[in-house]
């Protein structure tokens, strides 16, 4: 899921680099403020832990095994801002020292894994982690974090015109789903061990009054992720829907201009239309949900 250099189209990697930079700066400032002085060595060592943890294998089936990715776990232990910083540091070290992931693509990888994936993993725990559904929340968090990162990465590749026939997309989604289930299970196993031996190391989830918004957020992420995935895997259905609602033509004009001059093969523009339509549709739904959620929250005086 670490995207190497050479895959993403220039407008894609450049935009994501520009977007990631202030986001990471913000996370760094927040983490610094909310943790004590001792936080730098703690975050560094936790990053080293994630690296090292990837050495321990969890048996899956017939001799294969998987390992922890860790975005959700870090968020549960350190809080989202610090987790974002640690994950960014991990990605940077992976790209530089291990050539795992590109440098120009670092913005994309940071957004996919350290920010979006991490937040998608944190939300369920923030909402449900204190109650009866704690275990389910932890599993869901691990699951969503991996699925979100994977689907975002795939979307960026498609948007860049990397050829992805439907069968490949469906296969990749299948792999993401399996990995996501494993991530959920491994995260849960570690959290249970920690809750038993060292519960003081974990953050207590304390959502304030904005629960409704949080739930909308989870729903929107789910929809967006599933939606983008389906749009990519079954573009024709979406295209028909998009044609029917007239979205496609608007999306194409919007997207064609800046991207036209860049390296999109003949297959690229066809995918672009479909993916763009799918994304546009999902964004509209997401925006509607967000607006609805805000209205609901205001109505309840939360």
């Amino acid at each position: 899921m670490h995207i190497p250099d050479g895959y993403l189209a220039t407008p894609v990697w450049a935009t994501l680099d520009v977007a990631a930079a202030p986001a990471v700066g913000y996370l760094a400032r927040r983490a610094q403020k909310s943790l004590e002085q001792s936080s730098v060595p703690l975050l560094g060592v936790m990053g080293a832990f994630v690296f090292a943890a990837q050495m321990i294998n969890f048996p899956v089936a017939a001799g294969t095994s998987s390992h922890l990715v860790g975005a959700a776990l870090l968020a549960y232990a350190l809080g989202p801002a610090a987790a974002g910083v640690v994950l960014t540091a991990i990605l940077a070290v992976q790209a530089l020292v291990f050539q795992d992931g590109g440098i120009l693509a670092l913005g994309a990888n940071v957004i996919n894994m350290a920010i979006a994936g991490m937040l998608a993993g944190y939300l369920p725990y923030w909402l449900m982690g204190a109650g009866r559904w704690r275990r389910q929340a932890i599993f869901l968090g691990g699951f969503l974090s991996l699925l979100t990162s994977g689907v975002l990465a795939m979307g960026e590749l498609i948007l860049s015109g990397v050829p992805m026939p439907g069968v490949v997309i469906r296969l990749s989604l299948g792999v993401f789903l399996v990995s996501a289930v494993l991530e959920g299970a491994i995260t849960l196993a570690i959290m249970q061990a920690l809750t038993a031996i060292h519960p003081e190391l974990l953050r207590q989830p304390q959502p304030d009054g904005r629960r409704a918004l949080g739930w909308i957020g989870v729903g929107a992420i789910f929809l967006a992720v599933v939606g983008v995935a389906m749009a990519s895997a079954y573009p024709d259905g979406i295209e028909r829907l998009a044609d029917a609602t007239g979205i496609a033509s608007r999306a194409t004009t919007l997207l064609r201009t800046p991207l036209a001059d860049y390296q999109l093969g003949t297959l690229g523009s066809a995918w672009l239309r479909k993916a763009g339509a799918g994304l546009a549709g999902i964004s509209l739904i997401y925006g509607a949900l967000l607006a609805g959620g805000k209205w609901l929250a205001r109505k309840r005086g939360a």
Partner: protein
């Protein structure tokens, strides 16, 4: 998979050794080298036409740089190839989709980018590279976290390795079953212990920092300054990289 992770740990030791070598390139300021590599990466990423001759040209430039830095060429070329298995899949798909040029671009760009980054980290010790990045505007907090991560990578990995062996010893006699809950829980428990140990390290480090007067800010010894040789280096990189591309594209 576990073998790959062990390979990673050994690799970073090798890379660390390479980075502390002596050469014209090792002596350059980290910022100059970072800028030069960024120029290369951007020129490579935005290249569209005449890709085959350009990638050969760039490969030659990188190979010459590796030799000039006193690094083992074969080992470096081999190390950059880690990106190839992932790329092979997409290249194959591109070929099947009737886009041979894209397949070539994927292979060439991803490999050459990895090689360029490898040259950067093989001629600059990581802490120095991080300090250079700080002087170029990257938040210090983030870089200090990365610095500590790198420092304790080996320490924690060694502890994880011991746990892995212990786990295998315990679980080895069990039959390999589908979805073995017991082994899964044991692995989770092992990681829980490793997590707690890592936390204990962090506390120990903090105490050691306080004991030597730490009050919240990391102060540093002065680093190297950007000299004339570094300016020349960046200029040369720009000329060579952009020039090669212009020449190749004009010639085709």
């Amino acid at each position: 998979m576990a073998g790959a992770q062990e390979g990673r740990v050994v690799h970073h030791v090798v890379l660390d050794r390479w980075s502390r070598g002596e050469s014209v390139l090792h002596r350059r300021d980290a910022r100059a080298k970072t800028i030069a590599v960024l120029i290369f990466l951007i020129a490579l990423a935005t290249a569209q036409r005449a890709f085959l001759p350009l990638s050969l040209c760039y490969l030659g430039i990188l190979a010459a740089t590796i030799v000039a830095a006193g690094l083992p060429l074969g080992a470096a070329l081999k190390r950059a190839a880690v990106v190839l298995p992932f790329t092979a899949v997409f290249a194959a798909i591109s070929l099947a989709a009737g886009e041979p040029m894209r397949a070539a671009a994927l292979v060439g760009k991803s490999y050459l980018s990895a090689l360029a980054v490898l040259v950067l980290v093989s001629t600059t010790p990581l802490p120095e590279l991080l300090r250079g990045l700080e002087r170029m505007g990257v938040p210090r907090y983030l870089l200090m976290v990365a610095q500590f991560l790198y420092r304790y990578l080996f320490v924690i990995s060694e502890e994880a390795q011991h746990m892995r062996v212990a786990l295998q010893t315990k679980s080895g006699t069990l039959r390999r079953a589908l979805w073995d809950r017991g082994k899964f829980a044991a692995a989770g428990g092992a990681l829980g212990v490793l997590f707690a140990r890592s936390y204990a390290h962090a506390e120990g480090i903090h105490q050691a920092m306080l004991a030597r007067g730490f009050r919240g800010h990391f102060l540093t010894l002065s680093g190297r300054s950007f000299g004339r040789a570094d300016v020349f280096f960046v200029a040369a990189a720009l000329v060579i990289v952009a020039g090669a591309r212009a020449a190749v594209e004009a010639w085709i």
